[in-house]
Symmetry: C2
Subunit: 270 residues, 2 copies
């Protein structure tokens, strides 16, 4: 029986990263591409509760007849629609990406739509990989607004190699025990090595950019500068030094090691 | 020096739960209320990257002269705006809630705006409590659309007692080590006891409700039935049995215990 593989992202269904994932995975099973109709970065694992969701079948590449489904919703919505309506079952493997722009640190993991979609898929029991390519913000937004011209320019070759090898291993051997999502970040300039990492705590020092509209009313842009560096062993540290970074993620934010100490802390006080 | 306390939520600034938190905390420091202008449930720790954010000062209760700031954005946006623009520094304590409706399980923690705001605050270094009240969905949505009439009907008395006691302990003794957020759920009918819990894996078995619009085009509502029950030790299990559930949460989704085994798994294969 052919393996079922779902590809999704948060850059929107027309991002060139979707086609790169397709190129990596096309020979490994039945491929479904289901992703937000437009860019939905920063939405984490948001799901649409307050509004209905629509879906349209779209042609992504006429040459190779690649078709996909554009979801008028979030990345996590896309996974839910794919599982329940389009595939009709839980896929064997879900790949979220290739995201244009890294997803490193606890901040990215909790706000990234790429990782949010991966968490949603992992909850359903799929083997799940989130994969992101380190690019400059300039490249990222250029790609979003001018993707057709730029799709050929972005160099996904290392991403495609890594994703193909990883997917092959996972489909043959299964997922490592105790892991819900493998979060993979590909450096813009590879040093030839792979690092298994933990999440850095922060990536940005947030900042607010205050402006006035033409009617003189204040509005804000959320912004931030990247933190200078980070300690050894983290995804941020590894990626900036040219390593492919692989971080095993858990869905469970329970602070397990402090559960007992919290009990003691509470009962000593009360 | 007076302690600075931020109250936020994801039910929107006009939810009666905000006033309940204010009643619990008003004598403990300088209170700031900053929350989304409208209900933003299910948005997790989303931040607004693609659109600017506006803020309006609003009067929440003329009798007690309670004022707040309505943010045209997400709960996490509200925390960022509060820290950088309204308070101008990191508050000592951030309370997200009282949310109308429980926030239990890994699903809720990764999708809840209540917990999302708490994660954002914890990243800045505040002591942070997310607090939610078990209510029926009917009550929850009635409150949103008819809050002025219903605010007096919702019984927040236990929430207020718990929050007041917990905040007092935290401001005197500091936050338990190794914890980023305390996720507190208050049962609709209390059994008189407190349970320290881990997150249940799931809360809902998701389902899609397919409909046709007046023009015959299909659209979807994301929906789900609650899982039957859960194993002992989880927040879901405790809450359903009438316990106040307190779960220590970590911002860090690294699957620490499997990091070494993933390395071995990978190198054995490659």
């Amino acid at each position: 029986m052919k393996r079922k593989i779902l590809i999704t992202n948060d850059d929107g269904i027309y991002s060139s990263g979707i086609i790169a994932s397709y190129q990596a995975l096309k020979d490994m099973g039945e491929i479904y591409i289901v992703a937000p109709a437009v860019q939905r970065s920063g939405v984490g694992r948001s799901i649409s509760l307050m509004e209905p969701v629509r879906v349209s079948e779209v042609v992504l590449n006429t040459e190779d007849r690649i078709r996909g489904y554009a979801v008028d919703g979030t990345p996590a919505d896309s996974v839910l629609i794919a599982v329940h309506e389009i595939i009709g079952e839980v896929p064997d493997l879900v790949v979220s990406g290739i995201n244009l722009g890294e997803n490193v640190s606890t901040e990215a993991v909790l706000t990234s739509g790429t990782v949010g979609a991966a968490f949603e898929a992992a909850t359903h029991g799929s083997m799940t990989v989130a994969i992101s390519l380190e690019v400059s913000m300039k490249d990222k937004f250029a790609d979003m607004f001018d993707f057709m011209n730029r799709a050929g320019e972005m160099d996904y070759s290392l991403c495609i190699d890594v994703l193909r090898n990883l997917a092959k291993i996972l489909l043959e051997r299964g997922f490592p025990v105790g892991v819900d999502v493998l979060n993979v970040n590909i450096p813009s300039k590879w040093n030839g090595k792979v690092a298994f990492t933990r999440l850095a705590k922060r990536l940005y020092l947030t900042r607010i950019d205050t402006r006035k509209d033409p009617r003189g009313r204040i509005y804000y842009w959320l912004d931030g500068d990247e933190v200078e560096d980070d300690e050894e062993g983290t995804d941020l540290h590894a990626l900036r030094r040219g390593y492919i970074s692989i971080t095993p993620l858990s869905l469970d934010n329970t602070s397990k090691e402090s559960l007992e100490s919290v009990k003691r802390w509470f009962y000593e006080i009360c």
